[in-house]
C-alpha cells in the first residue's frame, strides 16, 4: 500500500517580504559595526558566487533542472552562470571527465583567477563513477584540487544545492591569507600547477 506522497510538509512561514543573510559576528555600537575583515569579505563572496558549469554528461541535465525554476539556483546568488573562466569563481565539474578531456579541464582551471573553488558534481567527476575503464579519469581530483564533492548518479537537484551551500560555507570561512600560504602553494605544486 503506497503512502500518499507530499513534498514540503513543514512549510516555513514567510516572516518578511525579503530574506536577507545574517550579519557576521561583531561588536556593534551607535553608528559603527566592528568585525573581522575576513568575515565581511567571505560574506560578500559567498553570496555572489559566479559559477562556471563545466557540464559534460547526464549530470548536466540535472544541473539544468537545478538552474530552472523548480529548484532555483539563482536564490543563492548564482544568477549569472558564466562560461568564461576568467570571470568565474566556482568551477563546477559536472559529469565524467575522460583522459582526452583532462588537459582541457586543467587549462580551464589555470585560466581562472584566484580565489577559485572547484566543486565535483556526480560520481563520475568525484571518482570515475560506474565507468572503471581505460579511458575514464578516475576522479577529476587527479588533475585539479577539488573543494566539495557531490555524490550521486546523477545527484538530485537538492543534493547539488546542498553541495553549493557547503561551498558557500567554505568560501565564507576562508582566511584572507590562504591563497598566499605555503600550504596552498604545496597543494598546487602537487598537481603540477605553479
Amino acid at each position: 500500500m503506497a503512502r500518499p506522497v507530499s513534498y514540503n510538509i513543514k512549510e516555513k512561514p514567510l516572516e518578511k517580504d525579503i530574506s536577507i543573510v545574517d550579519m557576521p559576528d561583531g561588536y556593534q555600537g551607535e553608528g559603527f559595526f566592528a568585525t573581522k575583515l575576513g568575515d565581511v569579505v567571505g560574506l560578500a563572496r559567498k553570496n555572489s558566487l559566479w559559477p562556471l558549469p563545466f557540464a559534460t554528461k547526464c549530470c548536466g541535465i540535472e544541473f539544468m533542472a537545478t538552474m530552472a525554476s523548480h529548484y532555483d539556483l539563482a536564490r543563492f546568488g548564482a544568477e549569472r552562470v558564466g562560461f568564461s573562466p576568467r570571470q568565474c569563481d566556482l568551477l563546477m565539474i559536472i559529469g565524467l571527465i575522460s583522459k582526452k578531456m583532462a588537459p582541457v579541464v586543467k587549462q580551464v582551471y589555470l585560466q581562472m583567477a584566484e580565489p577559485r573553488w572547484v566543486m565535483a558534481i556526480g560520481a563520475c567527476a568525484s571518482s570515475g563513477g560506474i565507468f572503471d575503464t581505460y579511458s575514464v579519469l578516475q576522479g577529476v581530483d587527479q588533475v585539479i584540487p577539488v573543494d566539495v564533492y557531490v555524490p550521486g548518479c546523477p545527484p538530485r537537484p537538492e543534493a547539488i544545492l546542498d553541495g553549493f551551500m557547503k561551498v558557500q560555507e567554505v568560501v565564507g570561512k576562508e582566511s584572507l591569507r590562504r591563497r598566499n600560504s605555503d600550504h596552498y602553494k604545496k597543494l598546487l605544486e602537487s598537481y603540477g600547477i605553479q
Partner: protein
C-alpha cells in the same frame, strides 16, 4: 514483403557464385559472409540493382574472434532497404597480421566515421578511407583497446582491490577461455 531472403540469396549466388557463402537466417535476418576483396563490389551490386536496392547503411562494426586463427577480425555490415523494409547483414573476415578491408565511403558517406571507429577499437585498416585516424580514444594511444587481450580497467590505479568484484584476482564471471575465445563457437560459424 515483396523482397524475400530466398530471392536475395538466389541473386547473390547468381552474380557472385562461390564468393558468397555461409548463408543463415538468425532471427529472420539474412546473414552471409564474403571474401574481403569482394565487399565493395558486393555492396555496389546491392546498392545499384533495382530489384534489391539496399541503399541505407544501418551499421558497420567490427568483432574480434581470437579463436579463429587467420580470420580474427570481422567487419559486419548491416544494410536496409527502406522501400521494401528488408534488412541483411554480411561479414568479411580478415587476419590480424594484414587487416586490410576496402572502405565503402564512396558508396555511403555514413561509413566514414563508422570505419574510423572500427579502426580505433580494433585496428582494421580500411584501404581508401579519406581520413583514417582515431576518433574516440586519445590520439597518442598505441594499441587497439577493444581487442580481447587488453584489459578493461585503467591499469595505473593502485588503490582498488577488485578481487571480490570479479576482476584482478582469480574470480571472473567465467565467461570465456583465457585467450578470449568464446565458450561455444556457433555451429554455422565453423566455416573451416
Amino acid at each position: 514483403m515483396a523482397l524475400s531472403n530466398e530471392y536475395i540469396k538466389q541473386r547473390l549466388q547468381a552474380t557472385f557464385g562461390e564468393d558468397v557463402y555461409g548463408f543463415e537466417e538468425p532471427y529472420g535476418m539474412l546473414t552471409f559472409e564474403t571474401k574481403p576483396e569482394q565487399n565493395l563490389k558486393l555492396m555496389r551490386f546491392l546498392f545499384d540493382e533495382p530489384a534489391l536496392g539496399f541503399q541505407f547503411l544501418t551499421d558497420l562494426t567490427a568483432v574480434h574472434y581470437p579463436a579463429y586463427k587467420g580470420r580474427e577480425l570481422a567487419v559486419v555490415y548491416h544494410l536496409h532497404n527502406l522501400v521494401e523494409n528488408c534488412r541483411i547483414r554480411f561479414k568479411v573476415f580478415v587476419p590480424t597480421e594484414k587487416p586490410d578491408v576496402f572502405s565503402v565511403t564512396k558508396i555511403f558517406e555514413a561509413a566514414n566515421w563508422l570505419e574510423r571507429e572500427a579502426y580505433d577499437f580494433y585496428g582494421v585498416n580500411f584501404v581508401g578511407h579519406p581520413n583514417l585516424i582515431r576518433i574516440q580514444n586519445v590520439d597518442e594511444m598505441d594499441y587497439f583497446p577493444l581487442r580481447k587481450e587488453y584489459p578493461l580497467e585503467d591499469q595505473t590505479r593502485i588503490d582498488k582491490d577488485d578481487e571480490m568484484f570479479g576482476r584482478g584476482g582469480t574470480f571472473d564471471f567465467g565467461n570465456r577461455h583465457p585467450d578470449g575465445s568464446p565458450m561455444t563457437i556457433p555451429a554455422a560459424e565453423k566455416a573451416e
